[in-house]
């Protein structure tokens, strides 16, 4: 997060890095955030009074492809971290950009999906299903977007020489990586719960 933590508190009570522990704590909090949104969706998915029902409208093959794209971005994120751990800044930038590109493709798929659903008559205001679907997947998309911004910032930092020395840079890349992998893993849960679990009717 900043050089302060790295310079003054390189020695900590547990030996673990402050920023990494903080990211874990934050991700723990995020579990409850997505847990509440997913619970809401589970409550409402079978209660459609007006408008389309979930499996009338889902295009499972399409979303499977975009989910695959997002999962692959975790692989490229791992490769980015491996590159900076070797001190390979060029490799780092390539893999970070690849990760950001895959994330952007996923977001593009989500924008396409949302606009298709609206055309087919499912809006935020249509039903409790519409509200809970758009708010859950929308918040996930917002998390991916924030992740993309952080990845692009890392690319910029790498160019500007702000990820030197490589060990310090690797710490920062790993931190953003933790967030990115979490957002991916949450999507596995969301994809399963929303698209794969059958609904009534």
């Amino acid at each position: 997060m900043s050089t302060h933590e790295a310079t003054v508190e390189h020695h900590t009570s547990t030996g673990l890095d402050n920023t990494k522990l903080a990211m874990w704590a934050f991700l723990g909090s995020e579990c409850l955030f997505f847990g509440s949104l997913i619970s809401t969706y589970l409550l409402y998915r079978n209660r459609v009074v007006t408008g389309p029902t979930p499996h009338e409208i889902y295009d499972i093959p399409f979303t499977s492809v975009s989910s695959f794209v997002l999962l692959m971005s975790s692989l490229t994120m791992v490769l980015a971290l491996a590159a900076i751990q070797r001190g390979d800044h060029r490799g780092l930038r390539i893999w970070l950009l690849a990760t950001a590109f895959l994330g952007l493709s996923f977001i593009g798929g989500q924008v396409y999906e949302f606009s298709t659903f609206v055309e087919e008559g499912l809006k935020l205001s249509t039903s409790t299903f519409g509200s809970s679907f758009f708010v859950l997947t929308g918040f996930h998309g917002a998390h991916v977007t924030v992740g993309i911004l952080m990845l692009l910032a890392l690319v910029g930092f790498s160019w500007a020489g702000r990820l030197e020395p490589a060990s310090e840079g690797a710490r920062k890349v790993e931190l953003i990586g933790l967030y990115w992998h979490f957002v991916d893993i949450v999507w596995i849960v969301i994809f399963t719960v929303i698209y794969l679990v059958p609904t009534k009717g």
Binding site: H10, L21, L32, F33, T40, S127, T128, G130, A160
Partner: protein, 625 residues
């Protein structure tokens, strides 16, 4: 460690680095946990006066039957804002103020883990509070109760409940950032030798509180977002016509709301657990028991939320389970009470003002705790729900409990923070007025509650038999107000008298009393090495052999550098700037359906926050020499 700093090519941030250490800019850009703690405390006391003023209006309205001081609409706004203010803008931040100031001092650290994040928490808290209060001038404050039950909260006219959904959301960001900061500070920044079971009880309770915040805040965040989407963007989370479920709100709200109760009381329990040993001149009785009881409350607090919902008809199984868990949670609470009594038993007790407040806490918390257990009896609860009996109960735990503990903490630590004592005479007058006023206000609410006086109702007819006690409650409320005047006079008079406190005026036990009053900016010249629980007491009275030379945290490699110059985190504009974007974006949401340019306002607010965070990341935590 510091070597790589020189290798990074330096560039200017977005703004020139602030350098002022004093004056207005010094306070606005500070990242010093002590200054931030003082700002938290001052802001919370200000909101306490505002929330108290609202309470006085409520009591004036209810002093006599058919009162005409407030209209029904204003009454709804006043009791809602009174609750929101006292919970989110007073009790929580007062706890945070003391945690901010004393966690680093008590664990032997130079600052919290993330000093700028700490400043960010404060500024977000401040703008969140001001945002919430701006609703009074923009068409009406929230008026659906602090619990905001849907679908009432989604259908109330005006923007009040939209302010509620966004204001609490902003305050939640502050709490979450603070919680992460304190957790990492306590886990990772302890001085050498300060193992978990040598930490003062206040530190333990701060840790449990922070974990509760970490996991409770996201739950209420989701509920508040759902309310916001319903109100501003036509979503239908809570619309019964489309299958929306009012119980969803209640479950999410109380899944946050009950841990929130412990978030408010645990810091006070920690404070009392440090005050009692100091003034009884004995170690805390059963340290491990009191620590584990606190942790047990923190864990069990997640399994009792539906006792707030017995009246909605969860069915016999649900009701029985939550009745049982609620009775069980009284066990660790009882353990703590016996620990406190055991600490006082046989002690060399000196009845100074902090101890009066601490003992007042124990006494009043027992009353509030017992009436709390009476809610766990489901048929009994059905009689109490929505009556003044409930109001009596939670004021005994939150006023008699949390506020007495926090006030005790103020008297206890005032000399450390400001270097002079708070007057004992005025302090004792403050305590007795506070104590008598509190019991006069909330004691009779048990009686009128059991007689059926409904809460959240702006007036009541004559001839119900409630007139006398309601008048007494109003007299009590003004007694409390008088006691706060005494407190403020005490603050001013004590400052003028400037009675030198010295480093250790109470002959206390924990590490913060080992340093000067007020402490130097860098806290410790050398990081202490802790050997015992109550290490400072042990240094004064316990150690017979020669004390070992204190060594610097970080080991021999950093030794010389640190003794010559201590690198402290530098002031920064960005935490404050980042907080400003949030209310701007929130106003955009509130007027989304009225302003055509509202999306631009929302985007602008988000952009301000993002750019400030970017500047924050680009700026090194410690400026160049």
């Amino acid at each position: 460690m510091a070597t790589h700093v020189e290798t990074i090519p330096r560039r200017r941030g977005l703004l020139a680095r602030p350098t002022a250490k004093t004056g207005l800019w010094g306070w606005m850009t500070t990242v010093d946990h002590k200054k931030i703690g003082i700002m938290y405390g001052a802001t919370a006391i200000f909101f306490f006066l505002v929330g108290g003023l609202e309470a006085l209006f409520i009591r004036l309205q209810l002093a006599t039957p058919n009162g005409e001081v407030l209209s029904a609409e204003m009454y709804n706004q006043f009791f809602t804002m009174h609750g929101l203010t006292m919970i989110f803008l007073v009790v929580m931040p007062l706890g945070v103020a003391l945690m901010n100031y004393f966690i680093p001092l008590m664990i032997g650290a130079r600052d919290v883990a993330f000093p700028r994040l700490n400043a960010f928490s404060y500024w977000v808290f401040l703008v969140g509070g001001l945002f919430l209060y701006s609703s009074f001038f923009l068409g009406g404050a929230p008026d659906g109760g602090w619990f905001g039950y849907a679908p009432l909260s989604t259908s109330l006219p005006g923007n009040g409940m939209t302010f509620y959904s966004l204001g609490l959301q902003i305050l939640g960001v502050a709490s979450l950032a603070g919680a992460v900061n304190f957790i990492i500070t306590i886990i990772n920044m302890r001085a050498p030798g300060m193992t978990f079971f040598k930490m003062p009880v206040f530190i333990w309770m701060s840790l449990v509180t922070s974990f509760l915040l970490l996991f409770a805040m996201p739950v209420i965040a989701v509920a508040l977002f759902q309310l916001m989407f319903d109100r501003a963007f036509d979503a239908n989370f809570f619309n019964p016509a489309l299958g929306g479920d009012p119980l969803l709100w209640q479950h999410l709200f109380w899944l946050f709301g009950h841990p929130e109760v412990y978030i408010m009381i645990l810091p006070a329990m920690g404070i009392v657990s440090d005050i009692l040993p100091t003034f009884a001149r004995k170690p805390i009785f059963g340290y491990a028991a009191i620590v584990f009881a606190g942790a047990a409350i923190g864990i069990m607090g997640w399994g009792v939320w539906a006792h707030h919902m017995f009246a909605v008809g969860l069915g016999p199984v649900g009701n029985s389970v939550f009745a049982a868990t609620t009775m069980f949670i009284a066990v660790p609470t009882g353990v703590k009470i016996f620990n406190w009594l055991g600490t006082l038993w046989g002690g060399d007790i000196r009845f100074k003002t902090p101890l009066l407040f601490a003992v007042g806490f124990v006494a009043l918390f027992i009353i509030g705790g017992l009436s709390g257990v009476s809610h766990a009896i489901v048929p009994h609860d059905a009689q109490q729900t929505d009556t003044y009996y409930i109001v009596a109960h939670f004021h005994y735990v939150l006023f008699g409990g949390a506020l007495f503990g926090l006030m005790g903490g103020f008297y206890y630590w005032w000399p450390k923070v400001f270097g002079h004592m708070l007057g004992e005479g005025l302090g004792k007058i403050h305590f007795w007025l506070f104590f008598i006023g509190m019991n006069l206000t909330f004691g009779p609410m048990h009686i009128v509650g059991l007689q059926g006086q409904p809460r959240r109702t702006y007036t009541y007819p004559e001839g119900m038999g409630w007139d006398f006690w309601n008048m007494m409650e109003t007299v009590g409320a003004f007694t409390i107000a008088l006691s706060m005047v005494v407190f403020l006079v005490n603050v001013v008079v004590s400052k003028a008298k400037n009675e030198e406190a010295g480093d250790d005026p109470w002959d206390a036990r924990t590490l913060e009393w080992a340093m000067s009053s007020p402490p130097p900016e860098h806290n410790f010249d050398t990081i202490p090495v802790v050997r015992e629980r109550d290490d400072f007491w042990d240094q004064k009275y316990g150690r017979t052999e020669e004390q070992p030379q204190p060594v610097i945290a970080g080991g021999a490699d950093g030794h010389e550098e640190h003794t010559e110059h201590i690198h402290l985190p530098s002031p920064s504009y960005f935490p404050m700037l980042a907080s400003f974007g949030m209310p701007i974006a929130a106003y955009g949401v509130i007027y989304f359906n009225e302003w055509s340019f509202a999306p631009l306002v929302i985007g602008g607010g988000i952009l301000i926050t993002l750019l400030s965070l970017m500047g924050w990341v680009l700026e090194p935590g410690t400026a160049e020499e």
